[in-house]
Structures are given as C-alpha cells and as structure tokens.
Subunit: 391 residues, 4 copies
Amino acid sequence: MTIEGSKQTTASGKIRLGMVGGGQGAFIGAVHRIAARLDDQYDLVAGALSSDPERAMASAADLGIAADRSYASFEEMAKAEAARPDGIEAVSIVTPNHMHAPAAKAFLNAGIHVICDKPITTTVEEARELVSLAEQSGKIFALTHNYTGYPMIRQAKAMVDQGELGDIRVVQVEYPQDWLATRAEASGSKQAEWRTDPKRSGAGGCIGDIGTHAYNLASFVTGLELDQLLADLTTFVEGRLLDDDVQILLRFKGGAKGHLWASQVAVGNENQLKLRVFGTKAGLEWVQADPNYLWFTRFGEPKQLLTRGGAGAWDEASRMSRIPGGHPEGYLEGFANIYSEIAAAIRAARTGGKAAADVTFPSVYDGLKGMQFIEAAVASSQNGNVWTKLP
Amino acid sequence: MTIEGSKQTTASGKIRLGMVGGGQGAFIGAVHRIAARLDDQYDLVAGALSSDPERAMASAADLGIAADRSYASFEEMAKAEAARPDGIEAVSIVTPNHMHAPAAKAFLNAGIHVICDKPITTTVEEARELVSLAEQSGKIFALTHNYTGYPMIRQAKAMVDQGELGDIRVVQVEYPQDWLATRAEASGSKQAEWRTDPKRSGAGGCIGDIGTHAYNLASFVTGLELDQLLADLTTFVEGRLLDDDVQILLRFKGGAKGHLWASQVAVGNENQLKLRVFGTKAGLEWVQADPNYLWFTRFGEPKQLLTRGGAGAWDEASRMSRIPGGHPEGYLEGFANIYSEIAAAIRAARTGGKAAADVTFPSVYDGLKGMQFIEAAVASSQNGNVWTKLP
Amino acid sequence: MTIEGSKQTTASGKIRLGMVGGGQGAFIGAVHRIAARLDDQYDLVAGALSSDPERAMASAADLGIAADRSYASFEEMAKAEAARPDGIEAVSIVTPNHMHAPAAKAFLNAGIHVICDKPITTTVEEARELVSLAEQSGKIFALTHNYTGYPMIRQAKAMVDQGELGDIRVVQVEYPQDWLATRAEASGSKQAEWRTDPKRSGAGGCIGDIGTHAYNLASFVTGLELDQLLADLTTFVEGRLLDDDVQILLRFKGGAKGHLWASQVAVGNENQLKLRVFGTKAGLEWVQADPNYLWFTRFGEPKQLLTRGGAGAWDEASRMSRIPGGHPEGYLEGFANIYSEIAAAIRAARTGGKAAADVTFPSVYDGLKGMQFIEAAVASSQNGNVWTKLP
Amino acid sequence: MTIEGSKQTTASGKIRLGMVGGGQGAFIGAVHRIAARLDDQYDLVAGALSSDPERAMASAADLGIAADRSYASFEEMAKAEAARPDGIEAVSIVTPNHMHAPAAKAFLNAGIHVICDKPITTTVEEARELVSLAEQSGKIFALTHNYTGYPMIRQAKAMVDQGELGDIRVVQVEYPQDWLATRAEASGSKQAEWRTDPKRSGAGGCIGDIGTHAYNLASFVTGLELDQLLADLTTFVEGRLLDDDVQILLRFKGGAKGHLWASQVAVGNENQLKLRVFGTKAGLEWVQADPNYLWFTRFGEPKQLLTRGGAGAWDEASRMSRIPGGHPEGYLEGFANIYSEIAAAIRAARTGGKAAADVTFPSVYDGLKGMQFIEAAVASSQNGNVWTKLP
C-alpha cells in the first residue's frame, strides 16, 4: 500500500464552466457539478439551468451563480457568454436527450467547448451533424460515459492493450436495474417520465439510457470494433412506450463474440453494470457497484483480486486515483476523473496544444457510435432479430 | 438455526444397483457411486465398468463387486442380471453419450430401471425411442441433471411455483468454464477427447455438455416451457470439432424471455453455473459454486440472503438437506439427493405404487427436451442464427 | 482445472465399525455415519445407539444393524464385539461429552480402535487417563475435529509448514453462531439441553462446543504451540449455566499472538468459523461456510483466491478431494476425509504397520490439549482474566 | 430505487476556511480539501501549509491561496486572520499529531472554529486543555473521525438507537492494515516515519493511528460507554518504537462486551475496518472497504443486505447521500459528510444558533475520549494486561 494518493490537483487558472439543465429537481446535473468540483479544476459561473425561468433563477442562486449570468435559454447564454471577456470556456449539457443537439450546436458555434451527457442525441443524423460541427469548430466535444473514468477500468483497458489477455474471444456485458419494474412514469417520477418518452429520449428506452453505457464500456476496455449485432428489445411493462429490457448478441471485428444485456425490470438490481472479458491468455471481471476491485485470472493460475491503490494496481489506475487502497473511491470520483481529463485537454487547448497522450475521455465519435448502436439495435429488433451491421 | 438435519435415511431393503461405464480413469462414475452411497439407499452389486475387459475386472474388484457380476458388456449384464433372483433393480449408465441409448434400451428391455447420465442420447431420434421404450416398459427412467437436487434450487422452484416472484419476465442462465480454453483434447485428456468428438458426444459440444444443464435448470426452477430459441454456437479453439461457446436467446411460452450462455473457454471460471429469474414481484439469484445461498429480492424491499438450513429455508429445501445451516453441503449432496429421490420412486414401484407427490427427479422426457434443445440450437446456428421453434 | 478427482477409494476389506450414541433424534451420529460411508471404507455393523433400549433397537433397525448386534449398553457391546471373530475393529463414540471417557475406556480395554467426538472428555484428568490408556493399548484413538479434514485447510497447513507465510505473527480465529441467542435449552431443544448442562458438557459451554474447534484449527494450520491465554467467558442468556460467549487473547511459543472469539449469541451467524494467519511474508484467510476458497496474499502482491480443485491447489488439498474445482465440496466431505484418514491408519494397523506419512487426523493428544485449553480458559476467566499457562 | 439523491447543497455564503499542514507531499491534507470542496460549503482562503517556508508558499500557490494569506506559521496565521474582516471562520489542522494541540489553541484563542484531524493530541493532558479551551471559547471543535460520516454507519447508529437490535451484547471491531509489515519508516516513507515516532505520534502507534478510529466507530454506532479495557500492545517489526498490533478486550457500561483488534502488520489487508454489533434481537455488520452495504439480521429471520440508496435505507442514511443506490459512494464522500455537518453547525453559529438536531460530528469530547482510550490501553499493556478503567 502506498499511503500517498497519486492524483495531482492544480487549482490555478480554473476553467470557467457553464451548465445547461440541471436545475432544482434534476438528478444528473448535481452529479456533474460535484464531478467538476472534486479536483478543483472548474468554476461554475453561468447557467441556463431550467426551461422554467423562475426555477432557473432560483437554481442559479442556490449555486452561487451571479444573477446576470443565469440565462432563460441556452441560445441567449451561448451568445452572451461568447461576448464576455470572462465568458465560459466550456459548457456542461445535462438536459434530457432531445435537447443535447440544439444546445451543443449553439455552444460549438459560439466557440465554447462542450461537455455533454449521454446519449449524445436522439438520432444518428443529429449525431453526425455534431461530429461535423465539432470538427469544423476545433472545439473539444466530450461525452460523459463516466464509467470509463473508474481507475480499475483504466487498468482493465491497459491490460487488454498490453496483451495480458491475449486475443479476446468473448465479451459479456450487462447492466440490470429494477427501478422501472413498475410503471413509474405514470406515478409522478420525473426521471421515469422523460426516459420512457420517445420525444425526449429518442427511439431507445433502456438501450439508450443504460445499454449505451454497457456498449461504450465494453468497447473502451477491449478496444474492439463492433461489426454487427442481433437485438431483441422488449417492453415488459404494459403501457410503456419504449423498451425496458434488451438482449443483444455481439460480433466484433476480428472474431470476438459476446452478449449485452440491459434491463430496467430486473428486480433486485440497482445499477449492477458488469463487464467480463475472456481472452486466450486470461480473463477479467469488473462490477460497477464494487469498482475498486478487478478480478484478473491467467489461464491455469490462481484468480487474482486486484485493488485500486493496492499491490497489482498499474499506473493507468493510480493516475486516476486520489486515496490509498482499501479506502473506496466511487461513482463520483470516476465521474470526476472524466471531468479532470477534459480539463487537461481544455488547458492544453488554451495554448493551442494537446493534452498528454494518456489523457482520454469519450468524444463526439463515441457519441455517434452510441447512436449507431441504438439505431442498429432498434432496427435489428424491428426486423425480426436479424444480424445488423454497424456502419 | 436448527441443529437437527431434516433428511431421514432408511437403510433397510437397499436397492440393488448395477453400473455401466465408470471404471478406472473415468470421472462421473465415481460421482454416481458416492451419490448412490451417501444416503445408504443402494448397494452396488454388478457392473460392466469398462469396454476394456481387464479394466472392467480390475475396476469391479476395486469396488467390491463380485467377479461373477463383473460383465464384459452391458448386453451380457442386462441378460444375466435379469435372470438372477437377486439381480439388479436399477442400473446407472455413466458412459460417454453415444453409449447411453443402446445401454438404456438393453436394461429397459430387461425390465430394469435406468438411471442415465446426461445428455440422454446423441440424437433426438434415439431420445424419442427411449421415451417410447420407457413408457412401454413401465420402468423408471431417471436422468441425472444433478443440479436440480440442490436444496436451494428446490426452494427457488417452490418460490416460483407459489407465486413469490409473480409473473416471470426474464430468465438469465449461464454456465462458464475454462478447461477447454486450449486444445486439451490434443494433449491427452480423456475427458476432453470424447467431449469434443462428435461421434461420442453428438452434434453438440459445449451445448450438450453444459448447455443442457443450464437449460434444464432454468426450466426446472421456472416451470416455463421454451417456445423458441436463437442460437450462435462458436468454436474458438482451432482444430476443435464441436462448439466451445454458446450464446442463445430464449423465448418462453407466456412471454418470458431470457438468455443462456455456456462456455468452455471463459478463462477464470471453473463451473460457474448461475441462474437468475426476474418476475413482476421479485427476483432470485443462485450460483452453483456457492449453492447454500439463494438471493431473494422482493421489489422495493431489501435483498435477502436465504441459506440452506437457515432462517428462511422452506420445507422443500430442508427435505433435501442433512446438516445445519452454515455447514455447507455441496455438489455430491445435491447429486445424492437425485439418487435418493429416485430411490423413493423405485421403492414405491416395488409394490406397484408411486412415490410421494413431492418426490421429483429429471426423467426421460427431460432427456428428450434436452436433445430437442441441442438440435434446435445447432439448427438455429447453422441456419444463420434464426428463431427456431422447439417441438 | 482437472476434471479427474484425485481421491482414490478402495472398498475391499472394509473396516467393521460400531457406534455408541447417535440413535434417533441425535444429530452428530448421522453425520459420522455419512462420513464413514462416503468413501466406502467402513461397514457399520454394531451399535449401542441410545441409552433408551427401545430407541436403541429401533435405531439399529433403521440402520440395518442386525438385532443381535444392537446393544443396550456400550459395556456390553465392547465385551460382546471383542469376543466375536467378526467383531468391530473400531467404534465411533458420538454421545454427549460426559459419556466419551467411560465408553472410550471400555473399547480401548477391549482392544478396539476408538473414533471419538470432541471434546474428548469433560475434565483434563479423564483426558490424561485416556492418553495413558491409548498408549498402553496401542490402539488408534482419533478425535473428530472435522474441520482439519477440509482440503483447503490441508493446503493452508502445508503453506505454513513450507514457509510460504514466513514467521507467523498474528493468528485470528473466530467461531460465531447464534442458535443459543435465546434460552433454547428451556424450550425443548435436546441439542441445547445437554450442551448447556455442566454435568453432560463439562466446565465449558461455548468454549467446549465450538471454542475447542477454533483452537484446534488454529493449532493445526499454524503448527504453533499455545503458551498462555487470557480469557473472558460470559453467559449472556439469563438462567444459562455455562458460558455462551468467549473472548481469549493468545500467546504462542515463539512470539506469535492472536485472538480467539467464539459465541453462540452472535445473531446472524450460523457456523461462521473463520481463520486468519498473518506471517512476515504472507497472510491466509479461510471461512468454513465457504470452504472451497482460500485467500492467500503475499506481502506487496495481489490477493490470490485459491480454490479447491483449481489452479493453485496443492497436492495436500487434492489428496483430500473428490471432484473438480467449482463443484463445491462441503462439511460432510471434510468430515469424511477424517474418517478416511483414520481408515488408512486402521488398515495399516491390521498388519502392524503405520499409515503413510501424510495421513493425519486429530489424536488423543489433541483431545488432551483441548481439555487443557478449556481448563485454562475457565481458570483464567474465574481468576479475573489473567494470563494462564498451558501445561 | 429513487433516482434523486437526497443531499441538498447550498453554496451561497460559503465558509472561509484555512488549513494548517497539508502542503506538498502530505496525504491527509488533500483529503480534507476534497472533503471540504465536495458539497461546496467552504472556500479555502488561507494556510500555513508547511513548516518549511518555501514549501508552504509553493503549496499555497498550487491551491490558489493568495500569497498574502500563506503564512510561515500557524501562530502568525491565527493572529493575522483574526484581524481581517474577511478572515477565516474555521481552520483545518492536518499536521502530525504533536502539532494538533498548539495549533488548535492558537485558533480557538483567536476565536476561530477548529476542525482537527485525529487523534486530537499526543497526551490526555493536552486533550483536557483543549476541552476547557473549547468550552471557554464557545467555538466549534470538530474532530475528523471520518468513518462516522458514512451513510450506512448513520443508519447502523439509528437502528441501534431505535431498538432494532435490542440490548447490545457483543461488539467486535477490527482495523487490520499491512502497510507497516516491514520497517517502512527506515526506507523513506514520510507517512511511516512520523506515525512510528513517539515524539510526533504520542505514546500510541497503531492504537493511535487506527485503533482510535475503531474505538470511535464502535462507540458512535452502539452509543455505549466503554467502562474498562484490557490491552495487549505488540511491536512485531524489529526496531520500531511504537506498537504495530493491538488486541483489546472491551467491557462497556451496561454489560456489553467485545473485542478490538487493530494491526498494521496483517498482510493482505489494506484498510479493512469492520464493525459487528450483536444484540438480543438482531445483528449488524459493516465493512469500510465496501461501505454501501450493511448486513442486518433479525434473530430467526433471513439475513438482509441493506444498501445505501436502496430499499431499506433509512432517512438517516439518505440524508448523508448524493446519488442513487448501486452507484457507490466512498471514503471521500463519507469524509465530506463530516465537513458538511460541521458546515451546518458553523452556519448556525454565525447567527448564534444551533444546527438541526440530527446534525452530528465528532467533537473535542470524542477527542478526549480517544486519548483516554490510548492512555488506558498503553497502561493496561504495560501493567501486564490488566483491566483498566476509563475515566
């Protein structure tokens, strides 16, 4: 055990951040704010926190945002902030899905970096537009697939990259929840309402909300490109408009296969995201609810339990960690790691440079891939569960 | 905790048992013998233990079988034992798969009850013949899908039967192993040789060896009938003749869906059979490697860890158990439970009766279903992974 | 994974076994019988199964013991069996504690090997007498501290013996149960009655029933000699006559220290016996309820989870095992291992020889040590919790 | 599962905070800063971050502290800040132990609230002086026994308080680590150096560093007052000046007993703090490394696994939580909870009021108790391991 944590924090020259969405009553906005704050890299100085003007203003006051930088709309905010000498350098977009694209466009066009919640948009087409716009603008576009920020996920990826697993054969990923096992959207849950509403969520329900997380995580760790999928999307809860359970067979380029299961009706599961990767030489297993552990087993050798901060932790994990082994880090620290990686990129961009090579975070391209994944899965399912190529 | 175990053993009038296969160097034969012995219900008195005559004789001597009841072939054994006044009442068939059907026929024809290892045959046709023959003969035909003998599996089934889970929505079952991650069949492993040889195993490799176990277990606990499946069978190890990894989407009659994964290349897994069942009211989770535990979660309530012999154990579990909670029972006890259930049926049959209603064990019909499952999966996979109806 | 189990069974020339105690309604007698039967090394042919003659006879009939070898008393049995040419070679004594010594004496005097449940007697004095008598008689005296029969405990011992842990510093052992959290002895539990009755149990309650198991296990694995102890014995349940919770500080010869906790009022625990050993080079952890696992951690290296039958299992574990890794063995198999080790010794003794060097089981000396441990703990506690030397 | 987190953050009117110690190369200072920042309740505006003036200045620059508020000594800082209209309201003292008392005195005397790392001082006498001074000053004195900030620890405490466990009988608490299993203090570890140096740590090594945490946690959850203890302190690593392993028998007022084990040589353990409480009605178990879980078992009922944010979480837990169940919170969040509780008290004190009744954090009295615990344990051990009364 090293007592010293590895993560270095530099507070000077904090990044001026704005936020769209995330006002009173929202969930993920508060998470983004904590994530931005944890390593002291950002100052939240502006917001269009709610489509309801009163709530927007009250929320801004709660958060110590000056009244004149609390905006009634993201359009206004993008324009006004771009015009200020001390305007925001980056914006976090934490609205329901259907607002991601218009908001992102406004800020990219205003020359402001974008940090966007997932899934990136509600359609592939919008996602493609954002890719183009991001490329043209030269601005950073980060997507908060936060699970890629967990230290032991970074280690898992590094182990795969460096050949510890040999050639990957099988990838099993699953994300069961149970909070939509009943029709919560009909009994007043705001979170359930928009997540089960095609207008605000897009064509995918469970697959968009958590299936994309599972897909992104599997892709991140294995480095494999999904070639085709065969999906069976189901709506178990009567009256629900979108899928709440997703079974998908996976075929990766290079011959690996696998399975992705996401469910919001799996009673007894909170956020039981789990990834298993099996190669010719070794296997890995990681569970989000217990993220400080990584099981690693070489063929024919005893199972090893690697721990964040413990013996067996690689630099790739330690770099993303703040405290010694045995003192658990959690979801917020993983989320903060994404924000801090983005911060490194923004700081580098201030002087026209690039962040160090090991700085990594999900990008607009991952967002597009996520939408293509959703689109392919919905199509496969609608077409009778047939193999469907990813573009 | 009750200190007293619940299982009652009656040793008087033990059942005279023979065995086909299971000589020196075999694996599952020894397991059957321990299972038969554990509750003291059987006497092993005859055998055709090996196709190699010398090994047969030596094996019999090892096991205390009289020389004149050690036979060179099962045909001879069936004939001779049927002719003896103290001939065997039942035979255990523990050969490689391709010998199950001919041996079973010989003993059924000789009026001897059959206890057969799984899968029942190598083809659906043979399995159908055995069903007919078993029906005609009026003899008991038991199949050792031993996992159905675990006490907490009995409880799981009872909980589903009595509505504790509500309507079943999702069934996830998996059976990963890693012992065939390399080409063990080419380096002298007898167990690997016949299991990867289509002539001795049938059309299924991994799916026949462990996929059928997973399917049988899911069927047993949920009571659901599989309507159709969509399978992707893969052979990852070069040069292997049968599948070593199996991904199957499941659709049950009544609307439940699910997924079955079996693999023999999942490095880091020994015999990690796991069943999860999710209903409208509650969920269940059980893992074979830790069989004394059953997770049970009612929607909106804390997770419960039910233990064999502990508070929360039902009669259905206690009936199959010998020792107090916290003192683990294992694989052999579960296997023995199947043998003891069969013994109850054989004893009842002695006087033309039926065993008590709660006595249950896998039958020739389960054997047929297993073969139909294999056949459908192989067909689905060969036909491009399409939905394939079970008969 | 090896598919083949390692344990070899030889059924020829089974050992003729008798039993004292263990009639209908008893608990541990049935466990002994299964343990004796599992590897097919013994034939149970005689018994004095109950002090109640009718129950003795009925129990014998249940077990297939001939009526003329069902005795009304152990004295009669010892005499009669010694006189028969086919008399028993060994006897299992499974009565309440206070009957162990008189019964053992009768059989040793009759030239019959003794297998005795623990604790060996109710006083140190009686235990000393048994040691003398056993030495004089030249007969085997085995004590069923069954936990030493678990394969991974054998491995743990071997790892310590071969220096894998370096010098032992700290030994933490605990055995919490909860079945005596209320006054069960006052509400009809036979098991609770005699275990809380000084006349039948001796001076120790919890410490005799399970504390000795914990002490024996720690001694077996570490090979350390206990030098002194400091005990605090408590009776939490009002009206109870013996201790139901035990806290003991331990000092071993050579400088290792440790702690033993045993409790029968630790609500939520079934039989949660756990041993942890920490040396200069590595640490070990084992839990009886999950006995197929052994945690092993070298200083500065990742934690390893060793599994029975898996990669990392040593010969010392495999020798005591029947089935492949991932298929759990349990309490009965561990108990059976003790019986089979004893069988090896008895077989060797038939021809005046000694069993192979690796055959080991708890002996009359371990029994004496257990009684000295109880005596020292009771004395320490009564004298104000002072350090008390072991003889 | 509720998606909405429960914790409310109010950023307006942040508390002006200073820090003593915690400059470059320190460990716990960074933890305090994150904890203060997480809920956005504090602004770190002043510091005497190192006894080395250059390092103090560089550290302050790193942290965005204005150069004129980076002080060369805490005396200077206390004086200067007290004199500023915008001076700090509270100070965090995160130096080695021996500096806690002089620093705390300086700030209390200057009318500034104190947040002090544990143990509070190096002697009982100093601790008593701080109690007096804190009482006289009317200022808040908080001690960062951070484990009391974990949500499920709050729930455990509430469950005990509300009688869910009945009368407490047995309390088992342990805190094993392994980072001092070798003589790290001789090979350049700063953290090891001062922790094993009596001049900087006081009379207790392991007992002061982590034993006090274990004691504080057990006291907090059970609400029991320790009456006497019997300790055996050991130094296993040659050349070390303070204890590195601690075994303590506990007797609480009212009759409960228990055991505390803390070790820094328990190879294989990182920060494996574990608390178990057993009452007449139920038992509890909690492990710091997996803090989102709380095992709760009513006598005669199935074990329940309560999860932070999940079904079965009480308000006392939810109040201390930010994100949904299944998304783990960790050490930093628990630490932040202590800071936010203190913030509530400081805000209330601004207007001469008191925080809400459920606001709670460790105080100067807990600090005194911790020192009395250390002193009693050292005395008990030196006097031959005798029962020693707490004052």
